[in-house]
Symmetry: C2
Subunit: 155 residues, 2 copies
């Protein structure tokens, strides 16, 4: 259970979007995407999170098999929701760097700091991580997550 919850917490870090993206080469569309992802993650709104992924996206979490495609992501997030029932994200800070855009594709890397409060009196989770993201702009010009990897970061 501890291991599963560990992965679940990593997943939240992994899926969490930036509060700010202050790079000078930032694209307004990507900044909007980042804010939408952060809002969906803070609300633990799985449908809103899934809507920000491409159908064929791949999510890479440490010590976890790759999560490929929306059906697998939906199942993973549903499990996560059950494990975190009653939990609440108390704090979420994130900064993204070096947004690089080339036509309909982009990449950026982000640092995040999160605190999660649990319903059962367990001490809150307080951790930091880093993500490398590959984004793809769809036919409607909206940016969506195509590939994402998460790793632990230094405090």
């Amino acid at each position: 259970m501890k291991k599963i919850l560990g992965s679940a917490l990593l997943a939240i870090a992994f899926l969490a979007g930036p509060v700010q993206a202050a790079s000078h080469d930032a694209d307004a569309g990507i900044v909007a995407f980042n804010h939408a992802l952060a809002a969906a993650t803070r609300a633990m709104d799985n449908d809103a999170i899934l809507a920000l992924w491409e159908d064929g996206g791949t999510s890479l979490l440490p010590d976890t098999p790759p999560i490929k495609g929306k059906p697998a992501m939906r199942s993973f997030l549903a499990d996560l929701g059950r494990q975190l029932r009653g939990a609440r994200m108390r704090k979420f800070e994130l900064a993204c760097h070096a947004i690089q855009i080339n036509g309909g594709w982009a990449s950026e890397w982000c640092e995040e700091h999160q605190m999660i409060a649990f319903a059962n009196g367990r001490p809150p989770f307080n951790g930091t991580g880093r993500m490398l993201l590959v984004l793809h702009r769809g036919p409607n010009q909206a940016w969506r997550l195509s590939r994402e990897m998460w790793q632990p970061a230094l405090r």
Copy 2:
């Protein structure tokens, strides 16, 4: 020392290139890049490794500050070489997946398994990892690493 060496070993995993890249959408240029990176890493040839990076590349290792640009990479690899003096890579297996090319940019993710023998009688290192890579094709059409993140993987 143990922590530093841990990072050093991660760095080898991180910098290691694929032995194979069997994706059906594989580009011959990227397969060639992967083989060159694997060869340079097996030989622990820092100059050859650096030649495969873009000048402004960024390497992201767990619990390690981001390594940005060739001067920082050169310094990191030199430290690594001193820590691993006498060590030898006995085995290196890696498979890359889902090479995705869009003009002069590409991404792929890879799984690796490495075994390193040490000179001082210390037990060999045996580990697995996963990398998300962003590649950029330069003016001479050669692919170079632009961004890379490494994370531990399940056996």
